[in-house]
Amino acid sequence: MPLSAASINIDDSVLVQRSQTGDLEAMERLILKYQSRIFNVVLKMCGNSDDAAELTQETFVKVIESIEKFKGKSSFYTWVFRIAVNLTLNYCQRTARMATRSLDAEENESDSQGRQGLKEFLSDDSAADPAVLAQRRELCDLAKAALLKLEEPQRAVMVLRDIEGMNYAEIAEVLNVELGTVRSRLSRARSHLREILEAMQK
């Protein structure tokens, strides 16, 4: 299950206030608190761990540089993710061609066992248990590849919802879009992901 954002937000405001007064320890605590979540989301969006680490690092550098300007109109949680997602989307747009070539290569290399597992997953009309799915490594690899084939806006909304566990309002705030846009974009993303997976198992 995704982590609950609300439970983490409790003392964010205190840490942010202390960080704004130059408290380095408070800032370090904020970084340690969010670094893996940011890294995970960025990695699922960009597909490369080195780039994800660099983007995460860049995100927190920007956070530190801009913390004094943070007015608290939104939560720190959505603010930091907004910075990370924007950086990642810019990165994805810059490296779109490279990513596509890379994905094609990965897809060709996927073994038959993965394809078989995918076929079973798609043909199974029963609801799949995420815990069981997580143990099927080949299937996960294909899912990651399929995720990277989504258009960036759809990928972003799906990652924020299904991986980070944000609600629609938080996603709308992070992506700076309307709630209805999140709704339709997420629906299309899931539908499109299914189509990609179906195409991959053939």
């Binding site: 970084i31 629609y168 899931r190 299914r194």
Partner: protein, 336 residues
Amino acid sequence: MKANPQIDELLCSFIDGELSLRQQTEVQRLVARDAEVAKRLRQLQNCSNLVNALPVEQAPVDMLEQIKRSLERQSLLSERSVSAGTHAGAWHLKVRRFVAAAAMIALMGGLGAVVYQIVAPVSPGTSGPVAIDTPRPAPVIPELLPPVAAPMVVSGPGFSGRLELRTAALTQADAFLKAAIEDNGLKGLTQVQTLPDRRIYQIECSREGLDRLVADLGTIWRNFESASLVVNTDSFTEPVVLESVTPRQTAQIIGQDSAEACVEAARRAAVLSRFAQAMPGREILSTLENDQITAIAMPEIPRPRQASNDPETKVIEAPPQGGVQTSLTIVLLNTQ
């Protein structure tokens, strides 16, 4: 089931718990009634579950250190850029100071030129509007009129230059020159500068007035150890220097109608003088010294004369105004 965007949105919102209680109830009823909708719900749910099942990746353990290093790098870079900015600022400051100084000098120069234009007398060398003057009747002295004297109706710049006269008897020469200037009515047109080793007379007057003065000087010319005439040209070329100039040569040059003609006459005289110096036997030079050649072409220099023979009622005739304007600086140099 063929994908229906509206149904998909509703089902996704149902999966994510984004529907109101009433909407959730409606979706549950719909799913219960329609097997296709139920299947689609499971498909979408499985997609969500599959993505949610992806392993959670942890950030590199040294992420915090990397962030600190990155901040240090940025800090150094910003310091460098500030340092570079300081150097650039210093350089810009120097340039700005230089430009400001240049602008000040240019401004001072411009102001000086304006002030000079206002306070200085009209120089023959300056190009100004050509005024048409009504000719004043020249003094009727038939025997002294130049042979080709014609009334000058157009004012314009004529001779401009400097006459340097070296003498061991500065005081006497100075007294004579002062008297000559006064006699020829040029006192008001002359600025005098007295220095320990020299006297400088700057005379701005008509060509006729200067002719008379040079004629007076001619009477004591042999008392000068040397005489040289510097004829100004335009501002872009060197002046013409005529060494060992005679009074007649001086009068001839001054007597030209325009500044250009004065320069040309001075050049001709200078060439002739150099040629004479180079000739063996110095016949030409002696001829020049005796003014034999120049005398042929020279008009008679009108001499100043008193309007009355009575010394008590001596009236100084003012030189005719208008005509060609000349500028002569006479420098009496003490050789002792």
